[in-house]
Symmetry: C2
Subunit: 769 residues, 2 copies
């Protein structure tokens, strides 16, 4: 009667088991490929002594930071593990499995971050050396294979984890996987926030004193913040992004498996969501292998070509798989279980629906890639318009960048909305089936993740390679030009992959949102009939849902504000420190004294670890406060508001930042007056404003919306249990809500205190140095 | 059976008719009081010849602008009138009445804007003269009575329009009033956008060239943009804000009467929503009369005291009225008509519920006033923190201001959300009743509008008074100090009333959102039973609603981006013009030549009228495209997304701008280095970024969300008619949607074209002048 199959009834047939085992093998192949790519990178020459020395300092700083970060995060992970064990679940085995899966998700997420950082810090000097000795193609290959290693690890570990859980838990896999996704997302969020604060505090601090005040170029060894800046590229852009995309991967798989179980049961619900990403693994391997710039071709064209070719192969293969694995005829019920007799059974062709959904996901990836490139590229109109406003000063640069960011957010959000609406029409009016199709579109997007991670990692590696070359002084002439080109390519790939990360996050969050509905439906079955009341609270008109939408959007704003404030504060501390070093060591400017790089790295490490707690706690405890306090309807509205505002804010921040970054490059290339003019200074200010936008707050919103959805999914049964039926207990419910609210308030208050302390500890006269 | 009374059954009893007539008389009293205040202002001496000359130039520019604006808007109004006539309604009388009411709403809105501008431009020189001759108290009284006139006109015309319609149409009044509200909101939105672009293009342009490049102070007569800047204060801050608050007033009344009719029928549903604002009229008169600074007291304290006293009286009187006019026992049905048998009838005490709701509205007004003051005041921590970041340059000033804006948006939104949730709990589980209570909270907020308009108008009047004094050179010593104090007070009142305007907008929009539900319920009764399908599409989980949330938020982003871009573009044109005048008339700097003020006013007028179309069309046509294309569920999600993102964005923009403005003042008062330092320059840049935030995009969002809700309310029956039942016609439905979408795309494309033209028409070398 209910379209939601009792979960534990679903089990893998013999054929299904074979399919999952094949998927498992493909996951292992990905890991082996990653290992091979890594060996190839490490086999290259690490370069001259001074290059190795600088690279070593960067590696040391990055390792020290990540090590300390993991120790801090271990505390959070243990607390989350204990809370997770305390949450109700169908039986003890699922509860233990879920908590164990949480740990695996967290450890995998951390490992990929570590691997990415570690290899990138080894690869940077090798890319510089290759550019110096064997030429561009070798440098590019090393940089892209570095990314390939991380990409393979991302898809390999993601698929491995999901496949193993499905094999072991079969019909209950979805519940256990909630833990896996939560672990991955929670760790990724903290790494995104912490790494993002580190990298931008160092970058902004270095630019403010170096470029603006002292008038020395970027990566100049006289700037005490230079090493910290390079460390930041690795812990933020590299470790953070890798963990983020791994988390998107894991979470999308989780949502697809939950909804697949509910929508299709054993008619492919547990297998097809694994088959699509397995196809993506194979196409990603192809993508990494075929990336090679032809003679006279820009590196970016080569990378883009690989992306589009591998995406096209994935699309064709997924369509074939859909017809092989999904039923051609599926009876769906319009509406869902709560709404008795709302519509008769309708027949849909699930194979066609699934195939179209996956293809929509892949096309969406390609389109977003193009759209992001349009709004942040150096050749396109929006960025050039921003650059032109530098003629009327920094204020107009800031305003026009904000305009570009807002506008690009609209097109991205409307595109994603159109994709979701189109997918919805395939579901025959059934909520669960159409949400499953949304999850499949997410899986389609995932087929591109291997290449996307490779593209993204390319950015910090080539950025660092140029930095090391510049600082060592051992690279010049054609080799320096090669590294500048690779750096520019890396900047662009880094910017455009952000769009994909956001699109993945939205689809994953929407699918998770559907899983939340599924969790409530199941909880209501056991907690007695309160369907009318619950149903009403889910209507957008209901003040509860509407209040939820407001609060959900507000949390995204608060999270963004906290992240930006953290960077502003931490960068201020760096500025004071670098100014102090210039003042107390006057020999720095004529190279007769060496700046204390390590002190700046220390300050960045200390500040970013201190600052990551508040936004992290907000993400976890806000849905708890809303859900237990205002009910499941308000929590549903909350998630909708957070997804809606989250995608807009994330794209706005990323693309405004990207546009400012490249507007600066356009002026530096000699337009509108070129370097050293007031126009250039105006774009440098714009770029500095954009730094925490695009590399701290913006990207951290991706894991944020998924963490919040996962928390909602995990606590839904407990809320229903405490609100309706025999276990209803308003005192406990409100107690939990108020405790969660108190945690948030305390975290925000503590972060405000800090504000004063830092401001007052530095004499205002430092400004005159 | 249905809790929604068939509307035309409701009629006014004899006693009710008497009540409405009393309300009508109170409305007339307000208009008479306004007339008296006006006479008092005009009776004061207009000052020296040169003051009158300058004031006359400002008045001339403002009149010319508003005149041209009204001619432009008349075209839009006629088109809207025709479309409105074409929309279905229950019978022809309602249709005609609604269209006529639209015209009245639009004309009232325009008249109040005109009156505000007209009187303010006469009052500014009188305030300056009073400060010079008779002292602070007289100057303050004239400025506050100017605001009082506008305030009285606002509440008088709003209440008059609503009372007349209720008297004439009785039970059908709500439908007719939709037209009144729509007319008021549409005009106000255009005036907000157009005036906002004018004022900030002039202000930003004047500051960029005057303060930053030429190093001359604000309001210096050598700056060709000075007159335009003063004109802008009047057409933007004065006319725009007055129309905006009138519109909020009208729309809240409309929503309260629609929901009152549905929730209470003839048990006070048509009278109590009029009684509460009538009480507000009386307390506002008291408020204006008692505003007088005691010896040694700051003007702001006096104004705040009046506000709090009149709010307290209004609260007490409203509680008494609730017990007199609302039933103590009301049977409500949990849920709503679509959901048969979802809950039994429950008894609630509507008098208590209504009284508490009104008081919550008034307390909300007082709290928001305080909160906005905290985040934007010169004495408080957030603004001082922003000022401190000027030590590390403009980029950190911009970032910290954005942080303050984001944070304050969160607290404001969460406060409003808490108020709505608290009110919801009073409604006994009935959607319509609890939404009616939300509308009553809006009415509670309205009781403060008379004083709020007076406070707000105080801002531009005292700003202009100082400007005229400065330019005329006839005022110095103690008088100049008085004007500086009044200007500072005006800056603060202007900033804090923005918070109230936003809170009013959110409550009005939420109540309208409820009216939209009511409209759909009624339409479904006539268009056949499709309740299951419609119901499902209203669930936040449904991809349609979720897609709506995304698009609704996106439209707020696009609207803000368009408004900010318009200012950036128009300000750029001003910068080039002022630079040209400095270059071509070198005598300006030593006062031997006079700048051509009129040319700058012309450019502002031309540009702002050209720029207001795109955001205006977006606001009207986006809900049409979504509603007809994706259905009523998507449109509901759209409205929820727009309200949620809208309130956050509006507060963010207003408070970030306010904080930057006062951070600049803090530095100018000698902190962190004081005037002329790089810290000061950094805060000037921050202030310039904030100008279009706080005075263009931010305030225009208030009418935006109401216009969109009203459009949804008006088209809901047509959408249902074309989707379900006999009249279903997908071709027409999609035709309308695509046509609306095409209008938006065309408007955006045209506005982008403009971009290029302006950029290219000026030689880049102009920067060197």
């Amino acid at each position: 009667m209910s379209p939601v199959a009792a979960v534990s009834d679903v089990s893998l047939s013999g054929a299904d088991t074979s399919i999952v085992i094949v998927v498992l093998c493909i996951a292992l192949v990905a890991l082996v490929m990653g290992f091979m790519f890594r060996k190839e990178v490490l086999a290259a020459s690490p370069g001259s002594g001074s290059m190795q020395e600088i690279g070593g300092a960067v590696q040391e700083g990055a390792s020290a930071y990540l090590g300390r970060q993991f120790r801090t995060l271990a505390v959070f992970a243990v607390v989350a593990f204990v809370l997770l064990l305390a949450l109700p679940a169908d039986d003890m085995m699922i509860r233990i499995g879920r908590s164990a899966a949480f740990l695996f998700g967290a450890v995998f997420s951390a490992s990929i971050g570590w691997l990415g950082m570690n290899l990138a810090t080894a690869a940077n000097m090798r890319v510089a050396e290759a550019a110096r000795t064997t030429g561009r193609d070798d440098g590019m290959r090393i940089a892209f294979r570095t990314g390939g290693t991380v990409g393979m690890a991302t898809v390999g570990l993601g698929l491995l984890g999901a496949a193993v859980v499905v094999l072991v838990y079969q019909g209950d896999a979805a519940k256990v996987l909630e833990g896996f996704g939560f672990g991955a997302a929670l760790l990724a969020m903290f790494m995104r926030v912490g790494g993002g604060i580190f990298t931008k505090a160092a970058d902004v601090g270095a630019d403010l004193v170096g470029k603006v005040e002292a008038g020395i170029p970027e990566d100049d060894p006289r700037n005490a913040a230079t090493i910290a800046d390079n460390v930041g590229d690795n812990v933020g852009d590299c470790a953070g992004m890798a963990a983020d995309l791994f988390e998107s991967y894991a979470v999308t798989l989780v949502a697809a498996l939950i909804l697949g179980t509910a929508a299709l049961g054993d008619q492919g619900g547990l297998t097809f969501p694994l088959v699509v990403p397995a196809i993506g693994v194979i196409t990603a391997i192809i993508g990494v292998f075929i990336t090679k710039a032809r003679a006279g071709e820009n590196g970016l064209q080569a990378i883009n070509r690989s992306f589009y070719i591998s995406a096209a192969i994935a699309a064709v293969a997924s369509v074939i798989a859909a017809f092989l694995f999904l039923p051609s005829s599926l009876e769906v019920t319009a509406g869902f279980a709560l709404q008795d007799g709302a519509g008769g059974g309708e027949q849909i062709n699930a194979a066609v629906g699934g195939a179209v959904s996956v293809v929509i996901g892949i096309v969406l990836a390609a389109f977003i890639l193009w759209l992001t490139g349009y709004f942040t590229g150096t050749e396109t109109k929006p960025t050039n318009d921003v650059a032109r406003t530098s003629l009327t000063g920094p204020a107009t640069v800031v305003l026009s960048g904000i305009g570009v960011g807002l506008e690009s957010a609209v097109y991205t959000a409307v595109t994603i909305a159109a994709a979701i609406f189109a997918i919805f029409t395939l579901g025959g009016g059934s909520l669960i089936v159409s949400l499953f199709f949304v999850a499949l579109a997410g899986c389609g997007l995932l087929t591109t993740v291997g290449v996307i991670v490779a593209m993204d990692t390319f950015g910090p590696v080539s950025d660092n390679a140029q930095g090391i070359a510049e600082m060592s002084g051992d690279v010049d002439g054609e080799a320096a030009q090669i590294l500048t080109e690779l750096d520019a390519v890396g900047n662009t790939t880094k910017a455009i992959t952000k769009g994909i990360a956001i699109a993945t996050a939205v689809l994953a969050a929407t699918a998770l949102f559907g899983s939340y509905l599924d969790a409530i439906l199941q909880a209501l079955e056991t907690a007695g009939d309160a369907s009318g009341e619950v149903l009403q609270s889910f209507l957008v008109f209901d003040p509860r849902a509407l209040v939820g939408v407001l609060i959900g959007g507000a949390v995204v704003f608060l999270f963004s504000g906290l992240a930006i404030n953290a960077v502003t504060r931490a960068a201020g501390a760096i500025v004071f420190e670098v100014r102090r070093q210039f003042r107390e060591k006057p020999g720095i400017m004529d190279y007769s004294e060496k700046p204390e790089y390590a002190r700046v790295v220390d300050i960045c490490t200390r500040d970013s670890l201190r600052e990551l707690a508040t936004p992290g706690l907000l993400a976890v405890f806000a849905p708890i406060a809303v859900g237990f306090g205002l009910g499941v309807g308000a929590l549903a509205g909350y998630l909708a508001g957070a997804i809606g505002t989250g995608v807009l804010m994330a794209v706005f921040l990323a693309n405004a930042g990207g546009a400012w970054d490249n507007a600066k490059k356009i002026v530096e290339d000699g337009n509108f007056g070129g370097k050293g003019t007031s126009a250039h200074e105006a774009t440098v200010i714009g770029d500095t404003v954009g730094d925490p936008f695009k590399d701290t707050a913006g990207p951290a919103i991706n894991p944020l919306i998924k963490v919040m959805n996962l928390v909602a999914l995990l606590i839904a049964p407990a809320i229903i249990g405490l609100t309706y039926g025999d276990g209803a207990n308003a005192a406990i419910r409100w107690g939990i809500a108020l405790a969660a609210f108190a945690v948030i308030v305390a975290a925000v208050v503590v972060s405000k205190r800090r504000d004063i302390a830092i401001g007052d500890s530095e004499p205002a006269t430092a400004v005159e140095s």
